[in-house]
Every structure is written in structure tokens, then in C-alpha cells.
């Protein structure tokens, strides 16, 4: 599938595939523009957007919401039809998980879990689209607008961009903080950080331990998803370097295996979100 990229050496090919389409402020000129090279994108620092990550995840999210919204509007309590059955089985699955792990009372947790689950599945599923298709399409569009094809980057899978996974996990982190303070009170939450697990005498140690525990939640959440999807994407790219007639023998098994990872990672993310929300809602557990 390396057609059109023969001129790029395999190392460049991989790098090209792992580079986001970056729109940001050029530090030298101060102009907002698309980065032409990886170095340029890096130099833009924090003041930049990954258009591919944002675009793909936005389209997928809107697709998910519209699909569910349309069917949710036509919901009947009578015999459900095909699409409604599909939606209901997902809702039931999520609901079951939330009921199983979440003991508090918060109408936000189940929709949060649903959004997390489906959105991550959709974003991960982009990994199963052959690695060159969408970047090639993007290249053609870029060329149409007069861009140098080698400078049109397009990273299809949003979850292989740590920005996407950290964006979600930081959202979760805020929710953890918010509900911890809301449910336990500021004092209760501070007490949990300061006096657990070893009482007043070990206060600094407690704070360190609980602080790490707290910070580790969003970090591990984001890195786990990112790492898994990045590794999977990487292997697809490596397989794409092989001669085209042998690629299927590796990409097919890996894709089948990857379906499992796609679902599993989304499920793990969702479950952990539910568990973290449950922990934030628990009062005086010890």
C-alpha cells in the first residue's frame, strides 16, 4: 500500500504517518499557518491545533450523537426494531456496568460512560481503515489546493494522539475533583488526601501518596489508551512497508486481533471512568 510513496524512504514514511496535520502559530513570523514539516509543527509549541485529530474525532462524535439521537427520538416502548435493538443493547450494557460499579446517585455518570465508550470505540476503529487510504485522500485534497504532497500530513486515529486521550482524561480528572469536593466537602476531600492511609503523624507522606494516587488516575487513563492504539497503529504502518502482495497475510490477522484491542481499550477506559466517579462519590469509606 505504499503506492504514491515510493520516493519516501521507509523511515520517512513512518514519520510522515505519525505526524499530525498541525495548524499553529509560526514562532518566527507569528503567523498562524499549517506546519510544513514535523520540525515546524514542533516549534509551534503549545499554540497549535492538530486539525486531523480534532476533525476526525469531531466527525465521529457527531456521528455517534446524531445516530443515537435519531433513534432515541423514535424510541417506542412497543416491540423495538433493528436499530433500536442495537442501541438498547448498548445502553443496557452501559447501564449494567454503571449499576455494578457506581453506588452513588448521579444521572451524569451513565451518559458519561456511554459517550466515553462509543466515542473511543469509533476513534479506535479508525485504526482498522487501511493506513494509507485517508492520508492519501488528504494528500490529494492538499494537492488540489496547491500543497506539496509530502507536506500534507494526516494522522487518522485520534486516540494515537496523546492530545485526544489527555483531553478526555483531564476532563475526567476535573470531574473527579468536582464531585470529590461536592460529595465529601472541601474538608472531607482534603482530609482524605492528608490523613489517609496512615493518620496525622504521617501527614506529608500521606499527601505524597494520595497525591500520586490522584494524579495517576488521569495519566494512566490517557497513557494506557494512547499507548495501546499507538502501538497498534505502528504495527499497521510497519506491515504497510512490506510488498503489497504479502501485506494481507499480516495485516488481516493483526486487524482481527486489533478489533479486540479497540473494544477492550474503550471498555477499560469506560470502566475506569465509572470506578473513579464511584470513588469520588464515596463518603467515609475507611
Amino acid at each position: 500500500m505504499a503506492t504514491g510513496n515510493e520516493l519516501i524512504a521507509s523511515g520517512d514514511y513512518i514519520k510522515h504517518h505519525l505526524q499530525n496535520l498541525t495548524y499553529g502559530q509560526n514562532p518566527d513570523t507569528g503567523v498562524w499557518e499549517l506546519a510544513h514539516t514535523a520540525q515546524e509543527a514542533k516549534d509551534m509549541g503549545f499554540m497549535a491545533f492538530h486539525l486531523d485529530t480534532l476533525g476526525v474525532s469531531f466527525v465521529l462524535g457527531v456521528f455517534f450523537l446524531l445516530f443515537f439521537y435519531r433513534i432515541g427520538k423514535k424510541m417506542t416502548a412497543d416491540t423495538p426494531s433493528g436499530a433500536q435493538n442495537f442501541i438498547e443493547s448498548i445502553i443496557e450494557f452501559i447501564d449494567e456496568n454503571v449499576r455494578g460499579s457506581f453506588n452513588g446517585k448521579n444521572p451524569m455518570v451513565a451518559p458519561l460512560a456511554l459517550t466515553t465508550f462509543i466515542w473511543i470505540i469509533l476513534m479506535n476503529t479508525m485504526d482498522l481503515v487501511p493506513v494509507d487510504w485517508l492520508p492519501y485522500l488528504a494528500q490529494q485534497v492538499g494537492v488540489f489546493f496547491g500543497a506539496d504532497p509530502h507536506h500534507v500530513f494526516f494522522k487518522v486515529v485520534p486516540t494515537t494522539d496523546p492530545n485526544a486521550t489527555f483531553g478526555m482524561s483531564i476532563g475526567i480528572f476535573f470531574l473527579i475533583l468536582y464531585y470529590s469536593i461536592k460529595e465529601k466537602g472541601a474538608g472531607g476531600f482534603a482530609g482524605e488526601l492528608l490523613f489517609h492511609p496512615f493518620g496525622k503523624m504521617m501527614l506529608p507522606f500521606n499527601l505524597f501518596l494520595e497525591g500520586v494516587n490522584l494524579i495517576a488516575k488521569p495519566v494512566s487513563l490517557a497513557l494506557r489508551l494512547f499507548g495501546n492504539m499507538y502501538a497498534g497503529e505502528m504495527i499497521f504502518i510497519l506491515i504497510a512497508l512490506l510488498p503489497f502482495w504479502i501485506q494481507w497475510s499480516l495485516s488481516l490477522p493483526w486487524a482481527i486481533f486489533h478489533i479486540l484491542i479497540v473494544l477492550l481499550q474503550a471498555f477499560i477506559f469506560m470502566t475506569l471512568v465509572i470506578v473513579y466517579m464511584d470513588m469520588a462519590h464515596q463518603k467515609d469509606e475507611h
Binding site: L18, N20, T22, G24, A41, K42, M44, G45, F46, M47, A48, F49, H50, T53, L54, S57, F58, G61, F64, L65, F68, Y69, I71, G72, K73, M75, T76, A77, D78, P80, I87, E88, I91, E92, D95, P107, M108, A110, P111, L112, L114, T115, T116, W119, P158, D161, P162, N163, A164, F166, G167, M168, I170, G171
Partner: protein
């Protein structure tokens, strides 16, 4: 793999999607599912009730059948008894009637016999009188001996 504003964008997008899901997607779906659950539940309860009602009705019907059987048997027994009494009565009436007719007939026969006998007596006495007259025409005065002859004819 640069961390940049994309992260903030993703965070905002995530928040918006979750909010939309919570506001417009989750409630109607769950409401419809709950509604169905309730319907199924009430349907099952109704079915159960229907079943027990059916059973009860069957029991009642059986009872009624038994009752009416008993009643029918009673009626039949009554009717039998009544019939036999009627037959008895009829027999009584008939025998009484027969007795009456018999006595009546006897009376009539007796009367008839008496009349015949009287007639016969009269005729015999007449005959006797004629014979006696013809024999004793000259010797006996009919007027003188009429009483005597009358007494005689009465003793016959």
C-alpha cells in the same frame, strides 16, 4: 506527538458531547426502556391474575355443576315420589270409585230383583187370584176375602 491546544479542544469537545448525550440521548432511551419494562411487568401480573381467575372460575363452574346435579337428582327424586303418590292416590280413587260403582250396582240389582220379585208376586197373586176366582167363583166373595188375599200375596 506535541502536546498543544488540541488537548483543550478535545476536552471541550468531550464535555460538549457528554452534555448532549446526558441531555438529549440518554433520558428518552432509558425512559422508553423503563416504560417497556413496566408494561411487561404489568402484563405478567395481569396474566398471572387471569390464570388464577380462570382457575377460580373453573372451580366455581365445577361447584355450580355439582350443585345443579344435586338439585336435578333431588328434583327427580321428588318427581318420582310425587308420581308414586299420585299413582297411589289414583289407585285409591279408582278403588273407591269401583266400590261405589259396585255398591251402586248391587243396590240397583237388589232394587231390580225386588221389583221383579214384587212383579212376580203380583203376577203370581193375580194368577192365584184368577185360579182361586175361577175355582171358587161361586163360593168366595172377592170383596170379602180381598183383605185376606192381599195379606197372602204379601207374604209370598
Amino acid at each position: 506527538m506535541n502536546i498543544n491546544l488540541t488537548m483543550i479542544g478535545q476536552l471541550i469537545m468531550f464535555a460538549m458531547f457528554t452534555w448532549f448525550c446526558m441531555k438529549f440521548i440518554w433520558p428518552p432511551i432509558v425512559a422508553a426502556m423503563d416504560e417497556r419494562k413496566k408494561r411487561i411487568e404489568s402484563g405478567l401480573i395481569a396474566a398471572e391474575r387471569g390464570l388464577s381467575e380462570h382457575k377460580e372460575a373453573q372451580q366455581k363452574a365445577q361447584e355450580m355443576i355439582n350443585q345443579s346435579k344435586d338439585q336435578a337428582a333431588e328434583i327427580i327424586a321428588n318427581a318420582g315420589r310425587q308420581a308414586s303418590t299420585m299413582v297411589e292416590d289414583a289407585k285409591d280413587v279408582a278403588s273407591q270409585e269401583a266400590d261405589r260403582i259396585k255398591t251402586h250396582a248391587q243396590v240397583e240389582i237388589e232394587q231390580e230383583a225386588n221389583r221383579a220379585r214384587n212383579e212376580l208376586k203380583d203376577q203370581v197373586s193375580d194368577l192365584v187370584m184368577q185360579g182361586v176366582n175361577s175355582v171358587l167363583a161361586k163360593e168366595v166373595d172377592a170383596k170379602v176375602h180381598k183383605d185376606m188375599l192381599g195379606k197372602l200375596s204379601q207374604t209370598l
